[in-house]
């Protein structure tokens, strides 16, 4: 080697400084995200946790989870003590002491009591929409991956699915309103005035009059929204199952459908469940699709009350946590008395999504641990 002294660096090491600076900037960005996340979760935890937790045994204040939403009344009594009571207790108090004992009264809608209604509504909506989406999505994915021959039509279908994934959720909300709420077919003996089209079947009518604002309309809308993700991910998981399993099964004389049922679908299940975990959180969290199709700000009874059977429940409107949070944030003035409901709801909502995900991930891991290749 000639001039080996060139290997030794002379003077200040500018390049090393530059490398260090680049690393610091990029690292700062990454840690910045963590700080923002911590700030958000910290604030919610700080203000929300006290609503649910208490310092003495059993450490959880279940009344916020089990009571219905009520209007909160703030007033002074004759001695000047300030009271803050939900509507039902307020009426009892007023009855006992007479309404002329109430001074300086203000009331905040939806801020009293608990959030049992929204919790139940969100749980039902999420469950129903994920069941619907898995049924239709996995069926479509099986067709695309196992049956369809690659051609122009199938490419068009795939393009449509990908585009559907990019449609804003408010558009799904309007779509659900136009189709499920106003135009979906129902069997009825007396078609409504606003039916689009009623088909006489002799013993009854098939009337295109929509499902109204109801649990089933909202779930169907949410299912449409998460369908593209479920189809795409399910198709990928099905394709990841080795061809050897299919050939071995077919070579043993199994039919195509038997092979799919016994040798493809079970082994694709972990992947399908992973995609549905992501969709689950999204279905639980979206506000726009349920605004016009199912959600109400206030409701006195649970979806199964005042209806007949599971079919009746599907036709009832429900409260939902994301919509409840929107209502609390946008429709009522913020004050010290409303913070409990606002931050409490958000805190419970996050806990609920965390719980959903934890259950799904456990389920997926249990399925996955049985399969290794």
């Amino acid at each position: 080697m000639e001039n080996p002294e060139q290997l030794i660096r002379k003077g200040v090491h500018h390049d090393g400084l530059k490398q260090g600076a680049v690393k610091a900037v990029l690292g700062g960005m990454a840690w910045g995200v963590v700080v923002v996340a911590l700030l958000i979760f910290g604030r919610i935890f700080w203000d929300g946790a006290p609503v649910l937790l208490k310092p003495d045994f059993p450490f959880v204040d279940t009344s916020f989870l089990t009571e219905k939403t009520e209007t909160l009344h703030i007033f002074d009594d004759a001695s000047g003590t300030r009271h803050s009571l939900p509507a039902s207790q307020y009426h009892q108090w007023a009855e006992k002491n007479g309404s002329d004992a109430v001074f300086n009264e203000t009331s905040y809608s939806y801020s009293g009591g608990g959030i049992a209604g929204p919790i139940v509504g969100t749980a039902l909506l999420t469950l129903l929409s994920i069941v619907l989406a898995l049924f239709f999505g996995v069926s479509a994915a099986i067709y695309l991956s196992e049956y369809a021959k690659d051609g122009r039509f199938i490419r068009l279908v795939r393009l449509a699915i990908l585009n559907l994934a990019g449609v804003p959720s408010i558009v799904f909300g309007l779509f659900g309103f136009a189709v499920f709420v106003l135009a979906a077919p129902v069997f009825t003996d007396v078609p409504s005035d606003r039916t689009l089209f009623a088909l006489p079947l002799g013993f009854t009518w098939l009337s295109f009059q929509g499902w109204n604002s109801s649990l089933i309309a909202g779930s169907a809308t949410l299912a449409c929204m998460i369908l593209p993700v479920i189809i795409t991910a399910s198709e990928e998981s099905l394709k990841a199952v080795p061809q050897g399993f299919r050939e071995a099964s077919l070579a043993l004389g199994a039919t195509r459908w038997h092979t799919i049922r016994k040798c493809v679908l079970p082994f694709a299940l972990p992947g399908i469940l992973t995609s549905s975990i992501l969709s689950l959180a999204r279905a639980a969290g979206e506000t726009a699709p349920i605004m016009f199709t199912v959600a109400v700000a206030a409701k006195d009874d649970f979806p199964w009350q005042g209806t007949t059977g599971p079919l009746g429940m599907l036709q009832s409107q429900v409260q939902a946590l994301p919509y409840h949070i929107y209502t609390l944030a946008a429709r009522i003035p913020t004050s010290d008395y409303t913070q409990r409901a606002q931050y409490g709801s958000v805190f419970v909502f996050l806990l609920m999504i965390f719980l959903f995900s934890a259950v799904s991930i456990t389920l997926r891991n249990r399925v996955r641990s049985k399969l290794k290749w």
Partner: protein, 260 residues
């Protein structure tokens, strides 16, 4: 094709002027060959010569490959044209079993792997299934190794054991013909030896067609050998003749290792 009848006069598999294409690419050119019953027939030839394709025609597993089709000629198994529209494909595949190059047990237990074919064909009696599974595992000399862990995953077995499990899975449905697509190409010499011993034992009951790249293996096991080159059947006959005194110069060059 009843197992304990004497070998019939008709060849087990009769290939008549078979032409086969993947899309526009013709891979088999007018192959005519008779495969005798209860013997081992080896297909040899360099990669891409169409020997695996021909093997995969016998149970019509090529049907699932887009663009693959028979463009001329016919295959008759025990006298029946397997391209007939009224052929029961499920029964054909039960009677013509297949073992693949890469061992492919299902991610299920050892027992469920062997029982799969039986359950496919509607067997529900657990006693019958249990007996058949034991018989098949004994037949492939795997029973003593696995009898205490039948419920364990098949993936815990070694490569050679997994391939023998796949053979057990294949014979569970009582086939008459077993097709083997390079069953030992990914196995070590000792496992290969065990499989070869198994083949010699199995040929008493089954007609075996084996595709192999291993010339020594064909020489050791096969009764008949067919040499393919560029989609054409060049020469076929008794193994001894093909390896010691072939009629065609190309066969001579291939079996002596001059090309391939």
């Amino acid at each position: 094709m009843v197992s304990d009848s004497p070998a019939p006069a008709v060849p087990e598999i009769a290939i008549d002027q078979l032409c086969f294409s993947y899309g526009a690419k013709q891979v088999l050119h007018e192959v005519t060959l008779d495969i005798p019953s209860r013997e081992i027939t080896a297909f040899i030839g360099p990669s891409g010569c169409g020997k695996s394709t021909l093997l995969r025609c016998f149970n019509r597993i090529n049907d699932r490959i887009p663009g693959a089709k028979v463009t001329g000629g016919a295959i008759r198994i025990a006298g029946i044209d397997i391209a007939r529209p009224d052929l029961d494909l499920q029964v054909l595949r039960r009677r013509v079993g297949m073992v693949f190059q890469k061992w492919n047990p299902f991610p299920k237990s050892i027992f469920d792997n062997v029982a799969y074919g039986l359950r496919v064909h509607g067997e529900k009696n657990t006693k019958v299934i249990g007996e058949r599974v034991e018989y098949c595992l004994r037949r492939v000399a795997l029973w003593d190794d696995v009898k205490d862990r039948l419920k364990a995953s098949a993936f815990g077995l070694s490569g050679g054991q997994q391939q023998r499990l796949c053979i057990a899975r294949t014979i569970a449905t009582k086939p008459d013909i077993i097709l083997m697509d390079e069953p030992c190409s990914a196995l070590d010499p000792l496992s290969t030896l065990k499989i070869e011993e198994l083949l010699l034992e199995l040929k008493n009951d089954y007609t075996i067609v084996i595709v192999t790249h291993n010339l020594a293996q064909a020489n050791r096991c096969a009764d008949k050998t067919a040499f393919f080159y560029l989609g054409k059947l060049i020469e076929h006959g008794p193994t001894v003749k093909i390896f010691s005194n072939p009629d065609v110069q190309q066969t001579e060059s291939y079996v002596s290792g001059a090309f391939g």
